[in-house]
Symmetry: C2
Subunit: 360 residues, 2 copies
């Protein structure tokens, strides 16, 4: 369960950690670049209309945007070119984002809102980049099961480590793939946000779970899984440890939720067999996604772990995988109803999407 892990420091002081498939000790290369210090003026502000925090990181306007392949900062260094990774190869590598929305050193620098209802705080936390493979042209779906399992172990490792960071309330592991959804680097990678607050979606899910518990005595997610398995029509894949289904009230043109059969609250809680089984079902589904339109599907894979503290025992780990592609040549945009009112309209019935995903 503990991957082979080697930590080092980049030229500007950011932490970088190699996670290797083999057991050999790694020789750590030196980052010889001359880098400006990381900007840590991120702040967060309280939105009194919705009672949510909004993060503000104005330095991110300058972040790297779709560089040419031969200038990819996530590839290994080599041939005289120095990237973010001072090594000639790696399996999985994690490092702190150079343009972070959240930072352990966040400093308000005197910033304030001049508004009694809008509190401003430093956006304390951490943003990490997870490179899934050193091969620029690969995607997560191309990983071997053992390599995918290593990524799962990395998510577990980082969740434990980041949950211990002062001020961190929730750890969010995710992948965004596809220029269509604004991904600025095409190298296969994901990100981890360690937030200093409980995110709005999680707050709402926990509220719904508390309401459900009060009403029925049951666990909301357990009851949702049972209902989906009984109905069957939206289940896309299942194995001994996991079930994957299109939720009955899906918001996105393609949306699949993955739940472990055993209720756990976070990725580190998964045992070895559950992690292996996750690698299998997830790789299968990712391949199906790309077969839907015979092209790489843009997607977001969002790991819903509860907040670090869950005193009312409401959390249930799950993965939400979704895409905005609603047809081979059409994307689903958040239109007025969704982005103005939060009221979603979808074009596809979940049962039809599930059937297509089973068939392809």
């Amino acid at each position: 369960m503990t991957p082979n892990k080697t930590a080092t420091t980049l030229a500007d002081g950011r932490e970088l950690i190699y996670f290797d498939l083999g057991a050999d000790a790694r020789q750590v290369g030196h980052d010889a670049r001359s880098l400006p210090p990381v900007n840590t003026t991120s702040q967060m502000r309280w939105d009194p209309l919705l009672e949510e925090w909004v993060m503000m990181a104005s330095h991110r306007q300058e972040r790297t945007f779709l560089p040419p392949t031969d200038d990819c900062p996530l590839c290994p260094s080599g041939n005289g070119r120095r990237t973010e990774v001072p090594a000639d190869d790696y399996d999985v590598v994690v490092f702190e984002n150079r343009f972070p929305s959240l930072s352990t050193g966040a400093d308000l620098n005197g910033a304030h809102s001049n508004h009694s209802l809008v509190e401003v705080r430093p956006a304390v936390g951490r943003c990490e980049v997870v490179c899934f493979s050193s091969d620029h042209s690969r995607s997560f779906a191309d990983l071997t099961p053992a390599h995918a399992r290593l990524v799962i172990d990395v998510w577990a490792d980082r969740t434990v480590a980041l949950s211990r960071v002062d001020g961190v309330e929730q750890v969010f592991c995710f992948e965004s793939r596809g220029e269509e959804i604004g991904v600025t680097l095409s190298h296969p990678h994901g990100q981890i946000y360690a937030y200093p607050f409980t995110t709005p979606r999680t707050s709402r899910m926990f509220q719904a779970a508390a309401n459900h518990r009060r009403r029925t005595g049951g666990d909301l997610h357990t009851d949702v899984i049972d209902a989906e398995r009984r109905a069957g029509i939206r289940v896309v894949a299942e194995n001994e440890h996991w079930v994957a289904f299109v939720p009955a009230a899906a918001r996105w043109p393609v949306e699949v939720h993955f739940y472990p059969r055993r209720r756990v609250k976070s990725i580190p809680d998964l045992d070895g067999a559950e992690r292996d089984a996750l690698a299998m079902i997830y790789l299968d589904l990712l391949a199906r996604l790309d077969r839907l339109y015979d092209m790489p599907l843009p997607y977001i894979a969002a790991w819903h772990q509860g907040p670090v503290e869950d005193p009312d025992d409401l959390g249930y780990l799950h993965l939400q995988l979704f895409s905005i592609r609603r047809a081979a040549d059409k994307l689903k945009y958040l239109a007025g109803s969704e982005s103005g009112m939060g009221a979603f309209v979808t074009d596809a019935l979940p049962e039809q999407v599930a059937r297509r995903l089973r068939e392809v």
Copy 2:
């Protein structure tokens, strides 16, 4: 306050209403097209994880998508071509959407979710299209103040009419402009959704307003307006009846909220002077938006009216105008944090955006 209004019926039974600037009676043309009946199988499903309704309208996959200019269905009919508007000219015209997400005749047709926690209901309501001008190449910002005022009167008229429709709980007037945000027709137009539920954003704002009332005895929106006017740094424009500011915790790269100085709950509550003053401040701001990057800015303009019933007196009408353009050549996409967790990260500080909007 009552515009010159002439109602008729399209070939498939949908209602169409002309609103004219002049006082002359209009001769109503006949819609001689042969149209299939409107599909009314829209449903809505209860999402038990977030306790929100999701609308599902699978027939909308077939809706008209970026037709060539000479085939625009929102232009007046003429030269042998029959559009949605059987007239050779109009000022403002409203008609029921041919591909509605919500319909007064919505019928489940036996559809169900097979899931005890996911209720399915017919998506009863109404979706209307509002053409702001017969001139295909114009945009809202190009309207004269009198023409813009007519549109405001139309929103008021439709809000009153749709609030009376059986089952309707909230009326949402909005405009989406720009292919960048998925607008499928470039003719200047907006839409109106009459929902059979209170939308998620409104529910949250009302909850926040109730919390604020309990805590302070005050009205949330009134106190926000006062704080913004006192701070001054985010105010973009102001006149006798309206104030427009970038909210201190703005979520979008460009975001302006417009509030009437007098607290009213809906567009029909605005008096004549307030409507005229709205036309002036809104046209000024729209022109500024287009000067930001010297190009038509894609935007969503969302009118936040309370639900039809507001027993606790929590509503305050306001307009939220926002854009996803974060630079001349860059859009803000909803990335993993926003669409997975509902946690927004912005690149621009509200005070800087307000200063630019005042300067351009």
